[in-house]
């Protein structure tokens, strides 16, 4: 810890940074209208409108996020998304059918998909970043296949053979890969992540999981020994298990996300431009997630817009950014447009990634 503090002092950016305002102006009621119309039109058009729905939703959230009195913009167009979506659906349908018709061919396709996965991840992150702009300057992602292969496949697979002892290190590498390949215009994000933090957080997460599962089995008892709940109540056991599982999962997830996100933000900077901080805390995040889940359940999903806006408000309130004074010196260096295909394919095959 001492060394990292020393580094921080030595690496003070040459220009001093000032805290700037960071707000979210979205309203649950307003987003509700956008959301419900999105769903209705998506169903009525048999899914075609989902491309417009995605763009409207993203524009609403990006455009209402205001840093230093300038809002973010989402640049993708519905037709771009629709094109990507059609290709993704054809590929996915084809894969699904091939894997049923001939399981062997399905395995071969799966192997191809695995090999293509690092590329898909990079391309989809690149698309997401390039479609985000701030002060008329776009973000970019510059991660390359080789490094992505190492971080997303090789290390996680090796970690399985080390009884997951290497897994926190693999997680750290993934986060560092994402941050360090992100650019805002001609400025590079830089993160010095600490392996110890990942190990400590993972250890506590695992211990918490063990304790909660232990308590659960102590209460429910072992059905075969006839202790614990009576037979008639056993019928509801799957439902109870599911509820407990969700609860445990949100708590543990909240702990991990809070710790790691704070660590990533405080370790990240854009040289000569920005410094970041995050003050997520375990209990408030767990409370947010559990209450959001209950709200969704009790409202049969209608609380979704409120939940989304609430999440954004939490995120913005717990994030702070410092910028240098001459922040208008950033140059937009991205020339060509990129296509949405890779992002849509990554999405439908569920290989989407993001930071904690």
């Amino acid at each position: 810890m001492e060394t990292s503090e020393q580094n921080a002092v030595e690496q003070q950016p040459s220009q001093t940074t000032q805290p700037v305002s960071f707000n979210f102006n979205g309203k649950a009621g307003e987003f509700f209208g956008i959301w419900i119309v999105n769903i209705l039109l998506s169903i009525v058009t048999l899914g075609i409108y989902t491309a417009w729905a995605k763009v409207r939703t993203n524009r609403y959230f990006y455009g209402n996020t205001e840093l230093d009195q300038h809002s973010f913009s989402y640049l993708a167009t519905p037709l771009q998304i629709l094109k990507g979506r059609i290709i993704a659906v054809i590929l996915f349908g084809g894969y699904y059918i091939v894997s049923i018709i001939s399981p062997v061919a399905g395995l071969a396709v799966m192997a191809c998909l695995l090999i293509a996965m690092p590329w898909l991840i990079c391309a989809s992150l690149r698309f997401k970043m390039r479609m985000t702009s701030y002060r008329n300057v776009r973000f970019d992602f510059t991660g390359k296949y080789g490094e992505a292969l190492l971080n997303f496949l090789v290390f996680p697979i090796i970690s399985v053979f080390t009884l997951y002892l290497l897994f926190p290190y693999a997680l750290k590498r993934i986060d560092q890969f994402i941050v360090n390949n992100t650019r805002y215009g001609n400025k590079q994000f830089k993160a010095e992540l600490c392996t110890t933090t990942y190990y400590m957080t993972s250890l506590v997460t695992a211990v918490m999981f063990g304790i909660i599962i232990g308590i659960f089995f102590a209460v429910v008892g072992n059905p075969e020994e006839g202790t614990g709940l009576a037979g008639s109540e056993m019928q509801w056991l799957p439902l109870l298990m599911f509820a407990v599982y969700l609860l445990v999962l949100s708590f543990i997830q909240a702990f991990y996300v809070a710790q790691i996100r704070n660590h990533i933000f405080e370790s990240t900077e854009i040289n000569d431009l920005a410094r970041f901080n995050s003050s997520y805390d375990f209990l408030s995040l767990a409370y947010l997630q559990v209450t959001n889940m209950l709200a969704l359940l009790c409202s049969l999903g209608l609380a979704y817009p409120w939940v989304k806006v609430r999440q954004m408000n939490y995120m913005v309130a717990k994030t702070s950014v410092e910028l240098v004074d001459n922040k208008d010196q950033v140059l937009d260096t991205i020339g060509e447009q990129s296509s949405a295909i890779s992002e849509e394919v990554a999405n439908v095959f569920d290989v989407d990634v993001g930071l904690a």
């Binding site: 119309v37 524009r59 349908g93 059918i97 399981p103 008329n136």
Partner: protein, 342 residues
């Protein structure tokens, strides 16, 4: 009347406050302090973003510059009416609380008909496109895989097999089905217990346990074989395959942006919808079996016997798990067949 705006230069993060004026077919930008004209742009050289909530309005110029105005500005409204009236209509729809109510009612109704009518109909027409040689090939791959992981050689004697085989051929002939397309296989299986299943191309597999269960009741075996033949005749495997592709894609796009735990629910929803589909198909196959039994001059009682025999096997049936089951409950199936007897 001038409107205050922010003017972003192309290719850099530089921004400055400006005033904008709309006159005829062009907008003029003035420096906010000195009122000097910065630039003039014809309306056909700019693109205005679609109206959305209270979002600031972005106007993109052809050279990559950007003007951002408050969303509720008069000038923005005028420009949109001229350049992009459709987006105003959509944005007003999204603000209309009466329409919210209509949408809340329409969404479940439309979703229900999508899941119950549109997807099955589309799936059925797609499934109809698959040719018989292709289905035969699927059978070959599938049985090869099953043999490797779940099925073993039958331990039935050749005479036992011949009895059932005879019954099978009689059924095919009586129903005027192509004997070459259909194939009956005997297999032993711990995993399946007393069971039978059909593959899309016409391969029907019965387990040794099933044959032994109904040694004294050959009509029950006929009823089960008819049920399996129905799956082949109605192309159910292909239908279920197309339906599951459809629902998976549907859920990805309707609930895909819900993150983490909520995704779990949509996974459950997919299972529920798909099992609902398979229960429908099972019940269609039951109807076929009962109708054909009658047609062949046999009593639907054979079907009742078959169901009763099978239900004896799996008694510990959890009520909650009913929704996760791919088959209708035995009692329902028995009741239906009993009604057919009368």
């Amino acid at each position: 009347m001038q409107s205050a705006a922010i003017y972003y230069l192309a290719g850099s993060s530089q921004a400055r406050p400006v005033n904008v004026l709309l006159r005829d077919n062009e907008i003029s930008l003035f420096c906010a302090d000195s009122q000097q004209v910065i630039t003039k742009v014809m309306l056909d050289e700019l693109s205005i973003c679609a109206a959305l909530g209270n979002l600031p309005c972005e106007i993109k110029l052809a050279n990559g510059e950007l003007i951002v105005l408050p969303g509720d500005d008069q000038l923005v409204n005028k420009l949109r009416k001229q350049l992009n009236p459709a987006s105003l209509f959509l944005a007003n729809l999204e603000k209309n609380k009466v329409f919210w109510l209509i949408a809340i009612i329409l969404v479940p109704l439309c979703f229900y008909s999508l899941v119950n009518y549109v997807i099955p109909a589309a799936a059925s027409s797609v499934a109809g496109q698959v040719s018989q040689p292709m289905k035969a090939e699927i059978d070959e791959h599938a049985i090869g895989l099953y043999d490797e992981v779940m099925l073993e050689h039958t331990s039935l004697s050749l005479t036992e097999q011949a009895v059932i085989e005879r019954q099978w051929l009689d059924l095919l002939q009586a129903l005027d089905l192509d004997v070459n397309q259909y194939q009956l296989l005997f297999r032993a299986s711990e995993a399946f217990g007393a069971n039978a299943f059909a593959l899309p191309g016409g391969t029907v597999v019965v387990t040794d346990q099933l044959v032994q269960l109904f040694t004294d009741n050959p009509e029950a075996i006929s009823a089960i074989l008819l049920h399996e033949l129905a799956h082949v005749e109605y192309n159910h495997s292909m239908q279920i395959l197309a339906e599951s592709v459809g629902t998976t894609i549907l859920m990805t796009y309707f609930f895909g942006d819900l993150d983490g735990i909520v995704e779990l629910f949509s996974g459950t929803a997919v299972t529920l919808v798909q099992n609902n589909y398979s229960r429908d198909l099972e019940s269609e196959a039951d109807d076929y079996a009962i109708a054909k039994l009658k047609l062949l001059g046999q009593s639907p009682q054979a079907f009742v016997d078959a169901m009763q025999g099978l239900s004896e096997q799996g008694k510990d049936y959890n009520k909650l798990l009913k929704y996760f089951s791919t088959h209708p409950e035995f009692q329902q199936r028995i009741n239906k067949a009993s009604q057919a007897i009368e």
